[in-house]
Each structure stands twice: as structure tokens, then as C-alpha cells.
Amino acid sequence: MSDMQYTNEHEWLKIDGDTAVVGITTYARHALGDIVFLELPDVGRKVAKGEDFAVVESVKAASEIYAPVTGEITAINDNLPDNLDDLKEDLDKGWIVKIKMDNPSEASEYMDKTAYETYTAGLE
């Protein structure tokens, strides 16, 4: 999974052709605590980079998940809302949406694993 990229807002993304697969990071998962609810967007929805497209809730907090790239949501992980433990930094089970990118170059600006680890260490 070393080719995952990471945002300041704690999403991971993995580029597959013109599609970005998006999820939330292990760091985010820990920060949120016990997750009780995930609200998924509709397939076909257009999202702009930086726009929130899903909400993940713990008992005391609701956190928006932001689109790291502009494009159209082509798939959502239907399995997640009923299996919230799978919501993690895992390409197979933990992805939330797939976004077909309008402008694939947007994906190039994010951190790699090492940079993200340095970044989160600074947040402690």
C-alpha cells in the first residue's frame, strides 16, 4: 500500500487510471474513536475538490470527509455502513468511494506515507 497518498484532512487516496479510490486513514480512525454511523453519498454525484461528500460519526463528533479530487462518484462501498470496523486504511475493505477524476493532475499534490507520518507526528 506504499503507493497510497494522503491529505491534510486525513483521507487516503489510491490512483487507479483516471479513478481515485478514497478512504480515511488509521490516524483519523483512532482520533474518531468508536464510529457509530457512516453516511455515504449517491453514486453519480459530482464533487469538487475540497467538498465534503460523506460524514462519519462517533458518539460525540461528526466529521466530514472531503473529496481530494474533483470528479464524479462512480462507486460507493455499500458494505461499510453495516460493517463499520472495516472503515480503515485498507484498499480492499476500507474504501469509501471511487471518484472518476476530471483532472488527474490534482492527485499529484498529496503526501506519501512517510510525509504523512511526519505530518501526523507534528499534530500530537
Partner: protein, 422 residues
């Protein structure tokens, strides 16, 4: 100053402990220009009996339901409240408790809310109910806002005669231009129907349900007289049922505090406004209750909350729950039937008054009559004779209401006075 326990000695000791030379040292952050130099133009403190005397003068200048023949409903209803209800709600542990944010020491309030939610869900034929809203009108406005969130549409259709105050409240909560009396279309978030309608007529829902399904709108049923649910069919076809529950457990109190109820289909739970109480277990595995799904609410979601509402009408919901517990299934239905029969008797008596016509063909405990004269003038004339005749509609039409409180003598007095006035 009987509510202030601090002694002069204690104040002096405490000032010293905080290192202040005088009380005004503690107000040093307040700009001098904002500090008030002169005393407020207000009377000094008074003892209980002086205050009571002052307030009694106000109370005595009102005509109270119960003292005179009384036929006014129109969204607030004069019913009997058992003595037990008022006794329970004055218990310190309920009256002077805070919102149950610390569930270990608020299980009493929480279980009551859970029971209240169950009563409302059962009575409205819906899946879930919240812990209550301010009153019927705000509950209806919140229902419209919720329908807009669920459908992501902006228009509200009013299907029939809805309480005018509810409509004007809705007009304050949503854009006036988005409210129409047209048939719903693909931009419609919800169709709102009141039952019984403002004129007292009970409504059927099947046709409206079909209309809503055709365009993908929600069906909202609003009820201002919750006692009607003991006799009329439950609005099971609705997506949201909301309204006013003052009739159960609460005095008229010149308009408030009342009890807005709000129930809906389970699939819309996440878009509900207001507090919710849920069942769970404690650290020892024992059953208990907590406020839950609070990520919908303003203290967590801030500007993205489902509503800005923070409180519920906790004590009013308690009064309702105690009254419903006393009534039970049989008592609630009997109460509803007695209300209907009182209205039937009123109608039968009024129809014999020369010049009076009954306009409504079906009703629960409230209906419209036509007088030979302007209704407002008649209401004013009868008020001068200590009879509250009803709610004047346009022209000669009068909305009259009877409840289990209405006696044969009351009805006779109204008929005699109307005969005179007409």
C-alpha cells in the same frame, strides 16, 4: 433577599481570599463607560405575600376557562388535568433537574423521555418520536424543514385548512414563496395536511399518500388536538406526524408552555430535529437510558445541525406521560369519545337555536357554525356576559369546541345567549 444565602462575613472573607478590595474590583474588565453609575429604576425586593398580592391582581382580571361556559378551542383545548399530574411534575427531582447530559444521575428523566417517545409513536402510528418540540406550530415548521433535507427539494404544499398561526409560523421558517396550495409536483418536499383540520373536520389520508408517492414527496400530518387520536384512525400513511399535545396534561396557560410532538418513519431518523433518548446498558450490563444520536444536534454539528433546537419541553413531556399513564388505553379512548359526544350534544342544541346553522358535516370535538350576525361581534357581546363562545372566523362563521369539561348547563347558557344575541 430570601434567595441569597451568603452572609456579610462570608462575603468579606471571600473577597479577601480572591485578593479584591471590594466587589467592583471583580468587574474591572468591564469598560467604565458601560458600568452603570445610577440605580435602576426598579422597585426594591418584596416578601412573598406582597409579591403574591401583586400577581393575584393580574390573575383576577382574567376570565378563566372552568369559571364560565367555555367553547373556545382553535389549537388549545380546555381539558381536565388529574391532580396526580401536577403533583408529580412538582417533585424537585423532576422540576429542578437539568437536561440529562449526565445519565448516571438522570435515569429518571431519561426513562420518562423513553416512555414519552413510545406513547407518541404508538398514538401517531409512527416508528419513532423525538423527546418533544416547543409547540405544534414549530413542530410543523421543523417537519417541513426536515422534509426539505430528506428530499433535497424546496417546496411545501398545504393540502387543507391549517391553523393560521401554524401557517404564519411556517412562513417565518421557510421562504414564503415556497409555500403553495397547489397540487404537489416534482419540486415538492412535502404535502402538509391537518387533521382534524382547522375547522374541525377529520381527514382521510389514502389519496394524499398516493399523490405524494407519485411525485416523491413526504406526507406530513399535523394534529392540534391529540385527544382525537383516541377515536380517529392513526395517520399511519404519513411520513411525519407532528403537532400539539397540550391537551394531555397541560393547562391552557395563555398559550404556553405547551408540548410539540414529532414522530416519523424510522428511515428518516437521521434527519430528525431535537433530542432522542435511547436504551442501552451500563458498565455492569444493566439496562439504562441515554440521550443518543446527538451528532444531528447543534452542540456537535453547529451550523450543519438538523435544527438549532437545544431544549425540549421536558417537564411538559413528563406531564403528558403521567397523564397518559393514568388514562391508559381504555381511559384515552373514553376521553376521546366523551369529547366527541360533548360536541355532538353541542351541535344538537345549537341546531335548535333560530338562525344558527351547523356548517360541518363531520367533526371530532370542534366544528363551524354560521350565525345570523358577525361572529366577532357576537363573541364580544357574549364575553361581556361571561361566556366564551368560540373563535370567530370570517364573517358570520364561528368555530366552537366542546370537551369533557363542557356541561349541559354550559350548552344551555350558550344557546340562550345566542338566541338573545341573534
Amino acid at each position: 433577599m430570601r434567595y441569597l444565602p451568603q452572609t456579610a462575613t462570608a462575603r468579606a472573607t471571600m473577597l479577601k481570599a480572591v485578593g479584591a478590595s471590594g466587589i467592583d474590583d471583580l468587574y474591572s474588565d468591564i469598560p467604565a463607560a458601560a458600568m452603570r453609575k445610577e440605580a435602576f429604576d426598579l422597585p426594591d425586593h418584596q416578601g412573598e405575600k406582597e409579591v403574591e398580592r401583586h400577581m393575584k391582581k393580574y390573575a383576577n382580571r382574567n376570565i378563566a376557562a372552568g369559571d364560565v361556559p367555555f367553547f373556545l378551542g382553535a389549537g388549545a383545548y380546555f381539558h381536565h388535568v388529574p391532580a396526580t399530574v401536577d403533583y408529580i411534575i412538582q417533585r424537585s427531582e423532576f422540576l429542578t433537574a437539568y437536561t440529562p447530559y449526565q445519565p448516571e444521575i438522570a435515569q429518571g428523566t431519561l426513562q420518562v423521555i423513553f416512555e414519552y417517545q413510545t406513547f407518541i409513536a404508538q398514538m401517531t402510528g409512527q416508528d419513532v418520536a423525538n423527546a418533544s418540540m416547543y409547540d405544534g406550530a414549530t413542530s410543523m415548521a421543523e417537519a417541513a424543514l426536515m422534509a426539505m433535507r430528506v428530499t433535497r427539494r424546496g417546496k411545501v404544499c398545504l393540502a387543507n385548512e391549517i391553523h393560521p398561526h401554524y401557517v404564519s409560523t411556517l412562513e417565518s421558517y421557510v421562504e414564503k414563496d415556497d409555500i403553495s396550495r397547489d397540487a404537489p409536483d416534482n419540486d415538492t418536499a412535502c404535502v402538509i395536511v391537518q387533521s382534524p383540520d382547522f375547522f374541525g373536520k377529520p381527514q382521510a389520508y389514502d389519496a394524499l399518500r398516493k399523490q405524494c408517492d407519485e411525485v416523491g414527496a413526504l406526507l406530513v400530518v399535523v394534529i392540534t388536538e391529540i385527544v382525537s387520536l383516541g377515536l380517529l384512525p392513526a395517520p399511519e400513511q404519513a411520513d411525519i406526524v407532528c403537532g400539539e399535545a397540550q391537551s394531555i396534561g397541560l393547562p391552557l396557560s395563555f398559550g404556553g408552555p405547551y408540548l410539540g410532538f414529532f414522530a416519523c418513519r424510522e428511515k428518516y431518523l437521521r434527519q430528525m430535529p431535537g433530542r432522542l433518548c435511547g436504551m442501552t446498558k451500563d458498565a455492569d450490563g444493566k439496562r439504562g437510558f441515554v440521550l443518543t444520536l446527538s451528532t444531528r444536534e447543534q452542540h456537535i454539528r453547529r451550523e450543519k445541525a438538523t435544527s438549532n433546537i437545544c431544549t425540549n419541553q421536558g417537564l411538559c413531556a413528563l406531564a403528558f406521560t403521567v397523564h397518559m399513564s393514568l388514562l391508559g388505553e381504555d381511559g384515552f379512548k373514553t376521553l376521546a369519545r366523551l369529547n366527541h359526544e360533548a360536541a355532538c350534544k353541542l351541535a344538537d342544541a345549537l341546531v335548535k337555536v333560530p338562525g344558527v346553522k351547523i356548517i360541518s358535516d363531520t367533526f371530532f370535538n370542534e366544528f363551524v357554525i354560521e350565525l345570523p350576525k358577525n361572529a366577532r361581534d357576537v363573541v364580544d357581546a357574549l364575553a361581556a356576559q361571561d361566556i366564551i363562545a368560540g373563535y370567530p372566523l370570517d364573517g358570520n362563521r364561528l368555530l366552537v369546541c366542546a370537551t369533557e369539561m363542557t356541561t349541559d348547563d354550559d350548552i344551555a347558557a350558550l344557546c340562550a345567549a345566542l338566541k338573545e344575541a341573534a
